[in-house]
């Protein structure tokens, strides 16, 4: 056992997860966020198009205006922040003119120690000592205003996964299928509920109240009763359940009528055209956005809802057990890179709004629009730096970044491998605090604080490894190749 562990740890440093995650953020996700944002359109006819994003090695700005590479120790000693400059290619388009792409500094982002953009990357022990660094220091944290900050891994319920639950006791709802549908930074909770009478209801954001499942399916283009049966289940066992629902919503006969029902809910008291437009918009944008946000995705959403409904019915029939929310298969850990991604997305969005505002202002004043004057890098830099310095993350979560515990080497490693659950510490949550068998080999069974955080704050097991998600674009063709049949109407 010992030699195995030793060789494992020789290859895998203790905080590899954070560093890998951050590298991925720098190399891939930054670009993805920029691409997601697309083109900025202003009210004065000027457009900004973004190109490639690039991040420098960590540097510091001196009083004389010069930039020079900096070692982490220097940042610690001089109470500086250890940051890297970010450059983004941009070009302007207005009056059918187009400038060339220019690489512009849009701000600075914190550099994770020992990541690829850190100046310690790839240095030998001797070189590290030369730079004033402890060669045994694991890295994986940031330096903000001279203090070392850790982004603590957050344990979340897995997104884009159907989770079955029993309804609360004595409530009208008896069974629920939930999905935290996540697309980019947007999370939309979609549920299919079954009430005591056996009726199925769909809930999703921006729609007040519940929509009958049948109405929802019709709105998505599954019009006939026959098709609806197909979408949910053709097994005779569920015939009765489905018929009950079909009957209940029999008055809504086709897609147009269903759209009207939804339109009345989302835009009550508005003009009819607007109601329909809004209904379509809401369905595309807020219903199961992880499947897609375009009209062509509606069919697939319908099948997904059908799948959720079937699970609910199976649970009601006792053919399925409710999902164990503490099962580690239903958990995802959000590492430094993921957290930085959330933060950067918001900061970048703020920056684009600022660019838009600056452009509009300068054009209104009759100046020639210029990307140089329109980009104020501090908008991005300060937003990110402030979040890291205080731990107040986007979405109102506090304590995400913490001061690295330097009591001793073990406390450092433990802190960097800490996992916190977002559950509130004031409620008992007995089940969530238990040591779950699926944590075997992943989470240390012994190390957890005593007191109110017991079982909610955890630490990674020694040999725990992280797997990262695979992009859907890579996976889907493989699945089809393996013989998965695509969803088509009227199969």
């Amino acid at each position: 056992m010992k030699p195995i562990l030793q060789s494992f740890l020789r290859k895998r440093e203790l905080v590899r997860q954070h560093i890998d995650s951050f590298n991925d953020f720098i190399e891939n996700r930054l670009q993805a966020i920029v691409d997601e944002t697309g083109i900025i359109e202003t009210d004065v006819g000027v457009e900004v198009e973004f190109g490639r994003i690039r991040v420098n090695q960590a540097e510091a700005l001196e009083a004389d205006g010069s930039w020079h590479p900096i070692a982490p120790m220097e940042a610690r000693l001089r109470n500086l922040s250890y940051l890297s400059r970010v450059f983004l290619e941009m070009r302007l388009r207005w009056n059918e003119r187009e400038t060339d792409f220019e690489s512009i500094k849009i701000g600075q982002i914190p550099t994770m120690i020992k990541s690829k953009i850190c100046n310690l990357h790839g240095k030998s022990d001797e070189e590290l000592v030369e730079l004033g660094e402890d060669p045994l220091d694991p890295g994986g944290y940031f330096i903000i205003n001279g203090s070392e900050r850790v982004l603590v891994t957050i344990e979340d319920l897995a997104p884009n996964k159907i989770i079955l639950e029993k309804g609360e006791e004595y409530s009208k709802i008896t069974e629920v299928a939930k999905v935290f549908s996540k697309r980019g930074g947007f999370r939309a909770l979609t549920t299919v509920e079954r009430d005591r009478e056996g009726l199925l209801w769909v809930n999703f954001p921006s729609v007040p109240g519940s929509i009958p499942l049948v109405v929802m399916l019709r709105a998505l283009g599954i019009e006939t009763d026959r098709e609806i049966m197909e979408v949910i289940s053709e097994k005779p066992a569920y015939m009765h359940d489905i018929l009950l629902n079909l009957e209940e919503s029999a008055s809504v006969k086709d897609t147009a009528m269903a759209m009207e029902v939804i339109g009345r809910k989302v835009a009550a008291g508005q003009a009819k055209e607007y109601r329909l437009k809004r209904a379509e918009q809401v369905i595309d944008r807020y219903l199961l956005p992880h499947i897609g946000v375009e009209p062509k995705d509606r069919l697939r959403k319908a099948y997904y809802l059908g799948r959720m409904a079937l699970r609910v019915l199976e649970l009601a029939r006792g053919l399925r057990d409710p999902d164990d929310k503490d099962h580690y298969a239903n958990k995802r850990l959000r590492l430094a890179g993921d957290l930085m991604e959330d933060l950067f997305r918001v900061a970048f969005y703020n920056l684009t709004r600022d660019i838009k505002y600056q452009l509009e202002r300068s054009v209104v004043r009759g100046k020639e629009p210029s990307v140089y004057t329109a980009v104020r890098p501090d908008v991005l830099t300060e937003r990110i730096r402030h979040a890291l310095a205080t731990g107040n993350w986007v979405g109102g979560r506090a304590g995400v970044s913490q001061l690295l515990d330097r009591t001793n080497y073990l406390s450092v490693v433990s802190h960097l491998r800490r996992v916190v659950s977002p559950l509130s510490r004031s409620q008992p949550h007995f089940e969530a605090r238990d040591l779950h068998p699926t944590q075997f080999g992943r989470i240390c069974p012994s190390e957890t604080p005593e007191g109110p955080n017991c079982g909610l704050v955890k630490n990674l097991a020694l040999a725990c490894e992280f797997s990262t998600g695979v992009p859907g674009e890579e996976l889907v063709p493989v699945l089809y190749e393996m013989g998965v049949k695509p969803i088509k109407r009227g199969v």
């Binding site: 007995f430 605090r433 238990d434 040591l435 068998p437 069974p445 005593e450 017991c454």
Partner: protein, 889 residues
């Protein structure tokens, strides 16, 4: 100044009428500015000097007193237009709906009103709340569509939170302005107001609509001067400034004849400011914010919640003359004593009145001053003025002046009575009175016997100490609260203060049969323990040498006429008790103060269990009990120190044979579990009544496994005992468990034989992967091992899987303790709030402060549990034995 004592008989709450406000107010506030350029308060402003003084050295312009003496004086703001008081908006709504919009009468026929009036009278007479009656009246009155008095048709009134009233007149909504609301309230007759629960002498309905606003004195809202010299105003002042500003603008606009729309907007704004001035957390109203974005803390916020005036300042007071530090043990102190570090003794003082008898002693203390112990920190003149001795320059001059009638605040000295407390204070024994013993170093020291009532240990616990300031309180503390008076617990009527840990093992070892001392050793031991009593005749004489038994030595501490029989903790509960002939010496017989046979253990003088100690307290009084405890603990501690006592892992060593037998039992158990599972699978398992088949199986499995563990424990114990005898070497771990000093047989079992089944919430481990707990097992495996049975012992070590299961069980314990502490704290708070006023009166009834009887007799039997025999009113056996003895004599 002569103090006239007054007693508050009752408090009546009412509303302030505009006239009353004008009378109360010294100043009419007219300007929103507070200070002029030179930093002086502006007359007619919010910091008007007539509102009281906050700056030291100045005199109040109204009453002429200085800072501490001037209570502050009210001002007033004349509102340009009336506004609704948010706090009463709900009540106004009810009244508007229940009274006529024309004549202002209650919307009920005269007879009905009369009925309610009678009912109210009745309720008041018997001290019942009138709220339900008034509510009923509102409910009935609201229903009428037209006025029974003037016949006017009633319109629907809508209440839009927080302060808007809308009347629906022929389908059109008409907003009632506060002026209209006030007019309607004014029309209500005094008689009608009274049936609606008003006492019109202190509260007329229309006073709920404000026309004049009372401005609190500056002492209520002092401004603070920052280091930079900048003044920072209180939140209330800020809010009042807003009110005045809008009020002025409203007035100006009205005078200038501005359009109705503008006036209404300003009026609305005034309403907003007055609303947030009273309560800044009204639902539906955006909270008024400070420039920094922090919501202002206005009147309601000052009072509400945990940080509010009530919970943090009134029910949670802070005190002087108290100290807190880490505690540590000292077996040489009496249970009544507490060791106080000298630095604390120098800081805490006790006021002593100078008399001709003590004047010399006190003068000496005063001369020593605050720095030299024992000294004094203050002297107090008969007029109450205090002189700090740290600041007195000419001590001799002061000493000349001191005469009887003065007070000297002297340092704590040995023998002073103080209160000692450890949180959480869950029962009355959490605060007890101790006598001071001033000691060096920096921790409080306490006798180990008082650990149980405080639930204290020495892993860093801190405790509080309070020096009592009045003679009456000291007397009361000494008589009622002294540790020795608390030996018997009011919870179960046995001693809660008593021997723990080494006290018990020490007594056990001392009184074991065969323990003997030479005369020298006996003297040594007794001398070290401070026992001065003649030795009896030696019990053993061997080869011409005299020996004393341990029991003889122990007997020296017992009262001379004490006789008692009981079964010790070590008793094996044999089917036939052989009493004096007990082979384990577990039958204790004390006759006339002599321990004839039996071993002293937890049952003799342990906390929560000591029968002997219990007898001594009840028959010989608390003084004797204290003395007994002090001596016995000292004796056994000295003995066990002299003799030596230690435990190690070899205490859990088992011979091969035992291990084999244990393995066999566990194999059997696991086989039995398989049998059960097979029976279940074959559907031949017999179902238990009221259980499903699955539950039955689980229960049977748990049963088999726990039985198996108990069996292994018994075997382990058997072998440990046998080894002990064979090798004539005692097993300390076993001794501690058997005598009740620490640990249990279960602990021993787990260490030596088998840890046993791990459970989460009373069940075997069941969560995990689908169909199995861990992937190391096959799907559907419900055998003992797969569901958390730990076969190994702690000494053997646990396998990785066992370790994980054990962690699961352990985690539950950790979570439980963490969650329980917070819950019990809250429970405690609620209980105290509910019961704090209850008290046993001289007629034995339990009543609250109003005199309402809660119990006719305390506990329904009028008994004091601490004077009962473990909860039973009388111990008949004891009395019979006692009289049989006296008879025999």
């Amino acid at each position: 100044m002569r103090i006239i004592p007054k007693k508050v008989e009752r408090i009546k709450f009412g509303l302030l009428s505009p006239e009353m406000i004008r009378k109360l107010a010294e100043v009419k506030i007219v300007t929103a500015d507070t200070y002029d350029e030179d930093g002086y308060p502006i007359e007619g402003g919010l910091m008007d000097p007539r509102l009281g003084v906050v700056d030291p050295g100045l005199r109040c312009k109204t009453c002429g007193s200085r800072v501490g003496d001037c209570p502050g004086h009210f001002g007033r703001i004349e509102l340009a237009r009336p506004v609704i008081h948010v706090g009463y908006a709900k009540l106004i709504n009810k009244i508007l709906r229940s009274t006529c919009r024309e004549c202002g009468r209650v919307l009920l026929p005269e007879e009905k009103i009369e009925e309610f009036r009678e009912e109210l009278k009745r309720a008041r007479r018997i001290g019942k709340s009138d709220e339900p009656i008034v509510e009923e009246l509102f409910k009935q009155a609201r229903a009428s569509k037209s006025c029974p008095h003037c016949g006017a048709e009633q319109k629907e009134i809508k209440f839009e939170k927080p302060t808007t009233f809308i009347e629906v007149v022929e389908g059109r909504q008409h907003r009632l302005s506060p002026i209209e609301v006030r007019e309607r309230l004014e029309r209500i007759t005094d008689e009608d107001a009274e049936v609606m629960g008003f006492d019109v002498s202190v509260a007329r309905p229309e006073w709920m609509v404000l026309t004049v606003l009372l401005v609190p004195p500056v002492t209520v809202r002092p401004s603070i001067t920052l280091e930079s010299g900048e003044r920072s105003e209180d939140d209330l002042t800020h809010k009042l400034v807003d009110i005045i500003r809008i009020n002025q603008r409203l007035e100006e606009n009205m005078e200038a004849g501005a359009p109705q729309l503008i006036i209404e907007d300003l009026w609305e704004l005034l309403q907003y400011h007055v609303t947030t001035y009273f309560n800044n957390e009204v639902a539906g109203v955006p909270p008024a914010r400070h420039r920094s974005g922090r919501p202002l803390k206005t009147l309601a916020q000052r009072l509400k919640g945990k940080e509010g005036r009530f919970r943090s300042n009134l029910s949670g007071k802070r005190v002087n003359y108290s100290a807190r530090t880490v505690i540590s043990p000292d077996p040489n102190l009496s249970i009544n004593e507490v060791g106080v570090p000298e630095i604390i003794a120098r800081e805490l003082t006790i006021p002593e009145i100078v008399t001709p008898m003590n004047i010399e002693r006190l003068k000496k203390l005063v001369r020593n001053g605050p720095a030299k112990y024992p000294g004094a920190n203050y002297v107090e003149r008969p007029d109450g003025a205090r002189l700090s001795l740290a600041r007195v320059r000419d001590i001799d001059e002061l000493l000349e002046k001191i005469e009887p009638g003065w007070k000297v605040h002297r340092h704590l000295i040995d023998g002073d009575i103080v209160l000692f407390n450890r949180q959480p204070s869950l029962h009355r024994m959490s605060i007890m009175a101790h006598e001071v013993k001033v000691l060096p170093y920096k921790t409080f020291r306490l006798n180990l016997c008082v650990c149980p009532p405080y639930n204290a240990d020495f892993d860093g616990d801190e405790m509080n100490l309070h020096a009592i300031q009045s003679q009456e309180a000291r007397a009361e503390a000494r008589v009622l609260m002294r540790v020795q008076e608390q030996i018997l617990s009011p919870r179960f009527g046995g001693p809660i203060i008593g021997g723990i840990h080494d006290h018990i093992s020490g007594a056990y070892l001392l009184t074991l049969p065969g323990v003997r001392f030479t005369k020298e050793d006996a003297f040594h031991l007794l001398y070290a323990s401070g026992i001065k009593k003649p030795l009896p005749e030696p019990e053993i004489v061997e080869n011409g040498k005299e020996y004393y038994t341990g029991k003889q030595i122990f007997s020296l501490l017992l009262p001379e006429d004490l006789s008692l029989r009981y079964k010790a903790k070590v008793c094996r509960k044999c089917e036939v008790c052989r009493e004096e002939e007990c082979e384990y010496d577990a039958y204790v017989v004390i006759e006339n103060g002599r321990l004839k046979c039996g071993i002293m253990d937890e049952k003799s003088f342990g906390a929560f269990a000591g029968v002997l100690l219990d007898r001594i307290v009840k028959d010989y009084g608390t003084d004797a009990a204290r003395e007994f405890l002090d001596r016995v603990t000292k004796l056994v501690i000295n003995f066990i120190t002299w003799r030596g006592f230690s435990t190690g892992i070899d205490d859990e060593d088992l011979p091969e044979e035992a291990k084999e037998r244990i393995a066999e039992i566990l194999d059997d158990a696991e086989r039995n579990v398989f049998e059960l599972i097979r029976a279940y699978n074959d559907k031949i398992l017999e179902q238990l009544p009221g259980r499903t088949l699955e539950e039955t199986l689980e229960m049977r499995i748990m049963e088999v496994l726990s039985e198996a563990r108990d069996k292994t424990g018994a075997i382990a114990n058997e072998y440990l005992e046998r080894e002990e005898r064979r090798r004539r070497h005692e097993n300390s771990a076993r001794i501690m468990a058997v005598s009740g000093a620490r640990g249990s047989l279960l602990n021993l079992t787990q260490m030596a034989a088998c840890v046993g089944q791990q459970s989460v919430r009373g069940e075997r481990i069941k969560r995990g992967y689908s169909g199995r707990t861990l992937p190391h097992f096959k799907v559907g495996d419900i055998s003992a091992r797969a569901k958390g049975f730990v076969r190994s012992s702690y000494k053997q070590g646990l396998s990785p899987l066992e370790f994980f299961f054990h962690n699961m069980g352990g985690r539950e314990g950790l979570v439980d303790t963490a969650v329980r502490t917070s819950q019990s704290g809250y429970m405690q708070r609620r209980l105290i709030n509910a019961l704090q006023d209850l008290k046993v009166e001289y007629d034995h009834t339990v009543r609250d402060t109003r005199g309402v009887i809660v119990e006719f007799q305390h506990g329904e039997d009028g008994s004091d549990p601490s004077r009962t025999d473990w909860g039973k009113m009388v111990n008949v056996k004891n009395i019979v034995e006692k009289y049989a003895r006296t008879e025999a004599e």
